[in-house]
């Protein structure tokens, strides 16, 4: 029987020290786990803590194993499975460059407006849009732009947080 593949968003609080990201990535490559998205930045300057948000997929057993393996890394403070632990919000930011003139250019701008994307750079022949949204929204926007002169897209990957008053 094939087990169901689940997609999970996991937040990890780590000491911001050299090599910590390499430990996390090495764990995934060394043990053959998937990384669909990974973001990291310092969130607490005083205590030198960084928050890693990663999106991974696997069977229930593999996902549990990923969390256990992350948790036993020495510089890891906490591991939270946001997918398991109730509702959460997920966002990613994208910069999308579109080149074109005439009707295509107007259509790109119109769609950007619908998606609430901001124009952060404009020339006579191009725009760079900034868009924040769920992964699906960003996918949709980039998909539409591919018909209207998409040059390149740069995405941050997912950051996520649980809903409600309690925190990490």
């Amino acid at each position: 029987m094939e087990e169901k593949i689940e997609k999970h968003t996991i937040a990890v609080l780590v000491d911001n020290e050299p090599g910590v990201l390499a430990r996390v990535i090495g764990l995934f490559s060394g043990r053959g786990y998937n990384i669909e998205s990974l973001t990291v930045a310092e969130v607490n300057n005083a205590d030198h803590l960084s928050r890693i948000t990663l999106v991974t997929s696997g069977t229930r057993m593999v996902v549990e194993q990923i969390k256990a393996q992350l948790d036993r890394l020495v510089p890891v403070h906490k591991v939270h499975d946001l997918t398991d632990e109730g509702p959460s919000v997920e966002r990613e930011l994208a910069l999308v460059k579109v080149a074109g003139t005439g009707e295509r250019r107007i259509e790109a701008l119109r769609l950007a407006d619908i998606f609430k994307a901001k124009v952060v750079d404009a020339t006579l022949t191009s725009f760079v849009f900034e868009l924040t949204g769920t992964t699906a929204e960003v996918d949709d926007f980039v998909g539409l732009m591919s018909h209207l002169g998409l040059v390149e897209a740069s995405r941050t990957g997912v950051v996520a947080m649980s809903k409600g008053a309690t925190g990490f």
């Binding site: 090599g19 549990e64 194993q65 256990a68 393996q69 948790d71 036993r72 020495v74 890891v76």
Partner: protein, 587 residues
């Protein structure tokens, strides 16, 4: 009064002393000269000069495993550190607590491809439990203490501290271990009581129970082994163990079924296959043990006690997971068993034992006894008799001789048996024996070896001679990489590709060239005499060359990809249907 400043090298030595280190195994080089200078100027820590850095790590493993302390290693940058890598991974796989100090090029040269520079923390990251690069001398003492804490806490393992040469020279402040508390690392030692209670209820209702124990019991210390023995006696259940767990429960006890797994006993493997309740304490469902996962102990309820949460539900889904130290869990188990006045189901247990004894009567370790040639099993049986009742430690290399040693030698106490289980490192046994001998100068330490494995680290005879470590190297010489040859015979149409030990030295003369005692047995009649002479040597190493049957295979054997009830007993079992194609790709 101003704080007293020490150099980085002095901080290292002081931290080692404060951590209770008395022996360090190492090899000098440019990037660790300041630490070697500091070693020269003190007498508390004895340095053992090995002949190769890999051996330094294995020696520290032997020291650690036989004493329960953290083993300590000192190597230089670049090749010193890379040579240590195999040993570090060996210690990681077998959960041996080590601290390895490596020199590094000065901080301003890091990243410049300097002479003897290696990205040591990068290379050793997946080979250690944790590692550090210390760039600030004022962080050195804290890092050293943290390294020891991480190495010995939770599931033990090797920790590497990489120290640039300028940091060793720089002046800094020392802090004692009492002032260091780790920010994040707090492994769970005490189990969740509710889970233990659940386990006890299940154990009490078992009809066909078995204890399956592993290296975690040995790592939890001699008290854990005593508690295990006590609990197993209280329940009356049969018990088997992994290669790493041998000795935690006395092998001379009638409840002992022998080792399980690929070369385990028939009774142990069939009891695992047929059990209804499995009590795994400190073992990790390794593939050498489980065989075919889909047919591993089908229909059993499984309790798994492990200090490492990532070991639980990794290969095998279990019903009652218990995270905690084996000793702490056993203590709770015994307490709750007594408090609830539990008693095993005697009728069912009697029936179960009847079945187990039936399997035991198969006498699976029997071999073709002959006067014509020395069977390796015979040599080990004679060694077992000669060691009985004596204060002894056994190490092994890797291969057939290792499995035979596990099958035939007596294991009545923990910490007496040292072997490379997880990584399977040929060349482990001799340096590990030296480490154990240095920790226990008056004990008999035997490295059960094969001629091929011995060649992998035989330079360490020099170390043994230098420190008058009278290790016994008991070579079962079949002129083959025996286990490779066995697999080639069973799986690759007897095409013995590169598994013959060509151009062997004369081991007796080799021993003599080092000023050691060299002995040889080529006939069955000579075996006892040679063992007796070997044990009489107490002032220098002794190499024993036993010319054993070159064609002997190690049985019983569960071929890769097969289940516990599909066992080959001996040459009479047809090798052609031994292994399916999908098993062939397994190792």
């Amino acid at each position: 009064m101003p704080e007293q400043k020490l150099t980085g090298a002095q901080i290292v030595i002081k931290a080692l002393k404060d951590q209770g280190v008395d022996i360090i195994f190492g090899y000098p080089g440019g990037a660790v000269l300041p630490i070697y200078d500091a070693i020269f100027q003190q007498n508390d820590i004895k340095h053992i000069l090995v002949r190769h850095e890999q051996a330094a790590v294995h020696a520290a493993e032997g020291y650690a495993r036989s004493t329960g302390k953290v083993g300590c290693v000192l190597v230089t940058s670049g090749p010193g550190a890379t040579n240590a890598v195999t040993g570090l991974l060996d210690a990681l796989c077998d959960s041996i607590p080590l601290v390895c100090l490596s020199g590094q090029v000065p901080t301003h040269l890091i990243g410049n491809d300097a002479f003897q520079e290696a990205d040591t923390t990068g290379i050793t990251r997946p080979c250690t439990k944790h590692n550090y690069l210390v760039k600030d001398v004022n962080q050195l003492a804290r890092t050293m203490h943290e390294a020891f804490y991480v190495a010995r806490s939770g599931r033990p393992g090797p920790v590497l501290v990489d120290i640039p040469k300028d940091v060793q020279f720089a002046d800094g402040t020392y802090i004692p271990p009492t002032e260091v508390k780790h920010k994040t690392y707090r492994p769970q030692v005490k189990p969740e009581i509710a889970r233990v209670e659940e386990a006890i209820e299940l154990i009490a209702t078992a009809k066909r129970p078995i204890f399956y124990t592993g290296g975690g019991v040995v790592n939890a210390g001699p008290i854990a082994a005593k508690l295990l023995t006590q609990f197993v006696k209280m329940t009356g259940f049969p018990i088997t163990s992994t290669l790493m767990g041998l000795g935690a429960f006395p092998a001379s006890d009638p409840q002992w079924l022998g080792m399980l797994g690929m070369h385990g006993t028939y009774e142990a493997n069939l009891a695992m296959y047929n059990c209804d309740v499995m009590i795994n304490i400190g073992a990790r469902f390794d593939d050498r043990v489980t065989g075919k996962l889909s047919e591993f102990a089908p229909g059993s309820k499984k309790i798994h006690v492990d200090i490492d949460p990532s070991s639980i539900n990794k290969n095998v889904a279990v019903d009652i997971p218990i995270v905690g130290d084996a000793g702490a869990v056993l203590e709770d188990m015994i307490r709750i068993w007594k408090a609830r006045q539990k008693r095993a189901d005697q009728t069912a247990l009697k029936e179960w034992w009847g079945q187990v004894e039936g399997w035991r009567a198969r006498n699976c370790l029997n071999y073709n006894r002959t006067e014509a040639v020395i069977k390796p099993q015979y040599a080990l049986e004679r060694l077992r008799e000669a060691l009985r009742g004596k204060n002894h430690y056994v190490t092994t290399e890797v291969g057939q001789h290792q499995m035979w040693a596990a099958q035939f030698l007596p294991f009545d106490e923990p910490n007496r048996w040292m072997t490379s289980g997880g990584l399977g490192t040929m060349g482990y046994g001799l340096p590990a024996a030296i480490g154990a001998q240095i920790a226990h100068p008056d004990a008999i330490v035997v490295d059960v070896s094969g001629e091929a494995s011995f060649l992998m680290n035989m330079q360490e005879i020099g170390t043994a001679v230098q420190y008058r470590a009278p290790v016994k190297i008991f070579i079962l010489n079949n002129k083959y990489m025996g286990m490779v040859r066995q697999w080639q015979e069973l799986l690759h149409g007897s095409r013995y590709s590169n598994s013959y030990s060509e151009a062997l030295p004369d081991f007796v003369k080799l021993a003599e060239s080092w000023g050691c005692v060299g002995l040889r047995a080529t006939t069955v009649a000579e075996v006892d005499e040679v063992i007796e002479k070997m044990l009489a040597v107490t002032d220098r190493p002794c190499i024993v060359d036993i010319a054993v049957d070159p064609k002997e295979n190690c049985f019983p054997m569960i071929p890769g990809g097969k289940a516990h009830n599909e066992i080959l007993f001996g040459p009479e079992d047809s090798p052609s249907d031994a292994t399916p194609e999908d098993g062939m790709v397994l190792v």
